[in-house]
């Protein structure tokens, strides 16, 4: 049989996360290419079917239905927001299709949404925000103010940061929730200034982060407090510019600069550079690579494309594709991996890609994750 192995890839090619999404596609194509160049599986090549979910959960569900019903894809990898990944997950779960999610969310690990077909290659807020808390609280102080995008993902970041902070005796002065997608944050800033915290945690993402960071800078907040953010995106930093992000630190799943320390990162970056004339992959882009690559590797390991067999193969997979060793935790299929803490540079940049300084890498450990029991899983 020489039928291709089809991987459906719904992701928001347009809309506010389009930069990240298009990078995801590029990296995923790289994974496909590597698989095919290596001869595929029993001569069967892999194919990526990219669909624009427009960052809209309804559209994402429809597109996933299309991929499953019309295109008859074998697996689904993708998504770039909590809401769309949960909707894709819901559809896949109902149709018993394997889904490897590459966007952050805590909910997807919980038993309510989870199914045996659900894998989560991305970090989740508990891991990222926790790591940032563990890094910054001892260094900058215990009085914390949160500026939070008012949606599930924002709340999850706060919860994780507080949870890690509690062990270190941190106190929350205020959790200020701003509307998702607000373009002006100035109205929240005088109060934050008046509260005078040690650390201001920006629990938002993408353009919200760019705008809030920028305005914090304008209002001179940086002189009296440290600004940190659980998810500091490479692409957001590029779009926001060095001035706005100066001195802000945060967590990320990947930064190309890891190549100095981790050999697989170097291999991955070089392959990416070669395929896309000199560009480097972004953090979320890299997840596209990993998400597809793990699934295809599992197919090979399972020696079958049968979904349940691939699930088992994934559960048993130990891999190091680009950022050091990883594996999927058995109970919730969460990828156990490192969190990289970076700080935005504003000077001494070698080229336009050189935007972060790696402060530390928090090692892989299940201790920092919510336990299986906590999530409602049996084992």
């Amino acid at each position: 049989q020489s039928e291709t192995i089809k991987i459906g890839f719904p992701t928001p090619l347009t809309g506010p996360f389009s930069a990240e999404a298009q990078d995801q596609v590029k990296a995923a194509e790289l994974a496909i290419k590597e698989f095919n160049d290596a001869g595929g599986f029993n001569g069967r090549k892999a194919e990526l079917l990219v669909r624009d979910d427009k960052l809209n959960p309804g559209e994402a569900a429809t597109r996933t239905l299309e991929l499953i019903e019309k295109d008859k894809v074998n697996y689904v990898v993708g998504s770039l927001s909590a809401a769309t990944q949960l909707s894709i997950n819901a559809v896949c779960k109902e149709r018993k299709v394997l889904f490897n999610s590459i966007s952050q969310s805590d909910a997807i690990n919980e038993v309510k949404d989870w199914s045996v077909y659900t894998f989560h290659e991305a970090l989740n807020p508990t891991m990222t925000a926790g790591a940032v808390a563990r890094y910054s609280i001892p260094r900058y102080g215990k009085k914390i103010v949160y500026l939070t995008a008012d949606y599930a993902y924002g709340h999850e970041m706060v919860r994780a940061f507080e949870r890690a902070g509690k062990e270190m005796g941190a106190t929350t002065l205020a959790d200020i929730r701003h509307p998702l997608g607000a373009s002006d944050y100035s109205a929240f800033l005088p109060r934050i200034k008046a509260l005078n915290p040690d650390i201001l945690v920006l629990c938002n993402f993408g353009r919200d982060l760019v705008n809030s960071a920028k305005q914090c800078t304008d209002f001179g907040l940086k002189s009296s407090m440290k600004i940190v953010t659980p998810v500091l995106l490479y692409t957001a930093r590029l779009a926001g510019g060095p001035e706005a992000f100066e001195g802000i630190l945060g967590g990320t799943s990947y930064y190309w600069g890891l190549e100095d320390r981790i050999p697989t990162a170097k291999t991955f970056n070089d392959a990416f550079r070669k395929m896309y004339n000199g560009q480097v992959p972004s953090d979320y882009g890299a997840l596209g690579y990993a998400g597809v690559k793990t699934v295809l590797t599992a197919v090979k390991n399972a020696k079958s494309t049968d979904t349940m067999k691939v699930v088992t193969a994934l559960e048993n997979l130990k891999y190091d594709f680009y950022k050091g060793p990883e594996y999927y935790r058995k109970c919730d299929h969460q990828a156990v991996q490192t969190v990289i803490i970076v700080e935005s540079k504003s000077k001494d940049m070698k080229d336009k890609y050189d935007v972060f300084k790696i402060l530390t890498i928090e090692p892989t450990t299940e201790k920092n994750m919510r336990s299986c029991a906590e999530l409602g899983h049996k084992a």
Binding site: L13, T14, S18, Q22, R51, D52, K54, N56, P57, G58, A61, T62, L65, E66, E69, K70, A82, A83, L86, S87, N89, A90, V91, E94, R95, S105, A107, K112, D113, Y151, A152, Y153, L180
Partner: protein
């Protein structure tokens, strides 16, 4: 030829039904066809108010959303049977329409649009904040109906074709209702009010009551569309309530031909189909859609369906 079309116009519900029976076979995949059914219904419900009463609401997403959420919540949290869940959705939307309409019809013109927009956003935030029931930004997941029991006969609702025809059944009922309304004396009053409120009142028609009545009917139909959508997607995204969704109904109606019976449906079909196809081969779909819109506005001012009707000289009294 012409008499053929007149025949169709006379039996418009029957004709539409026959057409929709074969529709899934000309669409690339069933989920899209079902989406078109649902949004076609949504746009038709909206058009009842917009095209026939001249009230441009920017808050109709509220009814789509209320329908979806109530049906979804009924199934997810209260394990209701699907029939009851749909009923709850439709009634909920009608009640929502009554409240919103009651407040909004005191204003006119663009102000009416804006009040409905604002009230719609308030509904949005209400559902957004009721996270424990609605799932907030993440949406309501798990609206699962695997099998439909029709007169004791279980059918597989996961089968896309079966799902299509089940949903079509409801859509046809709603279309029949809309068609009846338009042909009825109330339909005539609606148009009269659209043309000239002052005169309509002087003729003895209670303008406020009529507007409210139509608002509620329109909301209920949009609510039904919402309920069906929850069953179709098995999730309820919060975007269902967003004003951009209301905007879609406006666009669909105008694109297809406002104030025509089938126009909004055509608008929905063209728009969704185009978006689907264009998105698949270019990421610059927005430019393509934008240009197509501009093209139609400039060269087909009566909308696609409206233009077809007037080319065939069938739109006397704009009743098709």
């Amino acid at each position: 030829m012409k008499s053929f079309f007149q025949l169709i116009a006379r039996h418009r519900v029957l004709a539409s039904t026959l057409f929709l029976m074969i529709f899934p076979f000309i669409m690339p995949y069933e989920a899209l066809a079902i989406n078109i059914l649902i949004f076609g219904l949504f746009a038709m419900g909206f058009n009842l108010l917009f095209g026939y009463m001249g009230l441009l609401s920017f808050g109709h997403a509220a009814f789509l959303g209320i329908g979806s959420y109530l049906t979804g919540i009924g199934i997810v949290h209260y394990a209701m049977p699907w029939g009851a869940a749909i009923l709850v959705g439709v009634i909920g939307a009608a009640i929502g329409g009554l409240l919103m309409g009651f407040l909004a019809i005191r204003t006119r013109g663009i102000y009416f649009s804006m009040v409905t927009l604002a009230l719609g956003q308030i509904v949005f935030y209400g559902f957004y904040k009721a996270e424990s029931l609605t799932g907030g930004e993440n949406g309501l997941r798990g609206v699962r109906v695997d099998t439909f029991n029709i007169l004791g006969m279980p059918v597989d609702f996961l089968n896309p074709m079966i799902k299509y025809y089940i949903i079509l059944f409801f859509v046809v009922i709603a279309m029949w209702l809309i068609s009846r309304i338009l042909n009825s004396p109330l339909g005539a009053v609606m148009e009269a009010i659209r043309e000239n409120e002052k005169r309509a009142a002087a003729c003895g028609f209670d303008v406020t009551r009529t507007k409210l009545l139509v608002f509620v009917l329109s909301a209920a139909i949009c609510g039904l569309a919402g309920s069906l959508r929850a069953l179709h997607l098995s999730i309820v995204p919060i975007d269902s309530l967003h004003y951009l969704q209301s905007g879609q109904a406006v666009m669909m109606s105008i694109l297809g031909g406002m104030g025509t019976f089938f126009g909004p449906f055509v608008g929905a079909a063209v728009m969704l189909y185009l978006e689907d196809v264009v998105t698949t081969f270019t990421k610059h779909w927005m430019a393509v859609i934008g240009l197509v819109f501009m093209f139609f506005v400039l060269f087909f001012p009566q909308g696609i369906w409206g233009t077809i009707l007037s080319k065939l000289n069938l739109n006397q009294g704009s009743k098709s």
